[in-house]
Symmetry: C2
Subunit: 331 residues, 2 copies
């Protein structure tokens, strides 16, 4: 790799002049500039970004830490983050944790060591202290999807509304027995959906019917097993709310295998839609997430904070997006 020094030698000037010419950071005699450009081109010079970063103290990079990418909403949110970040001149560095606190800790420690200016994270919730430390050490941190630390900025969806609106919608269609497939209430999105569900269920004078099981929660199988459990225990069940799309697929499959007609005998709604619902044989009614926008917003938040003067950093902000009920064939 050619360095500034090589270019300087070839162009017969000092490295500082090369730096100024290439970065357009001060006037350089046009002829000199010419020579420098030619030399840089000839050598195929590319600046070493690590050296730049070390010198300038800015890395122009955002780290994103999410539990998983495959068949999850995070891969869609990431598109928004990446696009916005690119527009603002930032690169994006993605880490997945599989929701393992240890892996998450490793990721964070790697990132904090100079790799990034800011971190966007959908956290396990077990490294809150570390996250606050990182923020305190001068790296901007924004929570994504899961809001666990109130002192850190966050971009989330209104999960309570998801649960509430879905129940109200079903009630307006005459459903009285509505089951919810949920997950660990330690995770804010599951808790939120549950609370919204509960509120609407009570308000409608219905009974609470929920199910969890002992599997990877973001999976087809989780939805499948829970749906079967709900149907076994509630012969009169009229509708199932799945927390996420892949659970919804599992629920639909379970219903199909039992010979239940959707939506006549059973209605199904996904409370976290990310473009999957409309692709199915029986399309699935979903609370569609503004995932792309959420990603863009998180990236913007981080960039704003990074670029603010150290003296008046913006206060942390909590932003919540409203998902939208998109009615399809499963209801």
């Amino acid at each position: 790799m050619a360095t500034l020094k090589d270019v300087a030698k070839l162009a017969n000037v000092d490295v500082s002049t090369v730096s100024r010419a290439l970065n357009n950071t001060s006037y350089v005699h046009p002829e000199t500039k010419e020579r420098i450009y030619a030399a840089a081109k000839e050598l195929g010079y590319h600046p070493n970004v690590m050296a730049q970063a070390l010198r300038q103290g800015k890395r122009h990079t955002i780290g994103v830490v999410v539990p998983r990418l495959h068949l999850a909403i995070f891969s869609e949110i990431l598109q928004g983050i990446e696009q916005q970040a690119r527009d603002l001149g930032y690169a994006t560095l993605i880490c997945t944790t599989g929701d393992d606190p240890k892996v998450e800790k490793e990721c964070l420690n790697r990132l904090r060591g100079g790799f990034v200016d800011g971190i966007i994270i959908a956290a396990t919730g077990r490294n809150g202290r570390l996250l606050r430390d990182i923020q305190a050490s001068g790296i901007a941190v924004t929570q994504l999807v899961r809001r666990q630390e109130l002192e850190l900025s966050s971009v989330v969806a209104d999960y309570e509304a998801c649960g509430r609106d879905a129940v109200r919608f079903l009630a307006s269609r005459g459903c009285r027995e509505i089951g919810l497939i949920t997950g660990s209430l330690h995770l804010a999105p599951y808790k939120g959906r549950y609370e919204g569900y509960l509120q609407a269920v009570r308000e409608q004078g219905l009974e609470e019917i929920t199910s969890t099981c002992d599997r990877d929660v973001n999976s087809f199988r989780y939805g499948y097993d829970c749906a079967n459990q709900l149907l076994d225990e509630n012969p009169g069940l009229e509708a199932i709310l799945a927390s996420v799309d892949v659970q919804g697929l599992g629920a639909i499959r379970a219903a199909t295998e039992r010979g239940l007609k959707i939506p006549e005998q059973l209605k199904v709604i996904s409370l976290t839609g990310h473009r999957v619902g409309r692709m199915l044989e029986t399309t699935m009614t979903s609370m569609e997430m503004p995932a792309f926008e959420m990603g863009r917003t998180a990236a913007k938040l981080i960039a704003d904070e990074v670029e603010a003067d150290a003296k008046h950093k913006p206060a942390h902000r909590h932003i919540s997006f409203a998902p939208q009920l998109v009615e399809r064939e499963s209801t």
Copy 2:
């Protein structure tokens, strides 16, 4: 952020001693070590990885450049890359290009400038020269899924076998009219699947029936439109081969809307399965990709090359994986 210097001052030793103690790179008196550890802990010291990298010339980071993550096989392959990379002590930096050559170029130029030791890429094919330059400049490059440059290592699936095996399987079930939804033949995977299809179709004495359309190729809509086109033009069509899972979803939907029973009146196979087929109402027969293994292998390849002596770099290697036909309800 605390630096080595801060720790040195607090522990009353030279920075070099701190470095040696923290990295266990030479004997340090136990008592001194103790003091240093304590000081590091007190200050919450974390090494600046950019400075380390600049000094050592190694970054312990692999860049991954893929067209997209959402609902695509790349998000599954990435799990393999990340896990293997982590096991080998590398971080992973992901960029998505949306298959836009310009964005790809930007990504590559950013990565080459010191961010990574190696790059794994599913390329657009329009930056071949740049990729060879990068490899020549000392950054290891491995192609993923799409093998376009024969001088660069690659990890791909046997796409010809996908097309061939699927046709043979259908022929053995008595199908005679088999349509293929394909994409740009400039991309190796599409070309491979098409050629395998063609070979088997001829060998079975059948007629070639293909379809493309003018949309984003990795989409539900692409599969939906092409399937409709195939069905319109070939009233006797017995089976559809979709290139990727989301196209398969589109094809199934198109068939359903026409009132065709799957598999009795129409069979559907996805030639690039990544765990979606088994989640459907009518589960989809697929050529399942060993995506996780492919990811692991690509990461291993890069790491091997990075760690080899500059003198005897391993020659480039082309590795091909055999997908597996998993029969489900759609055939």
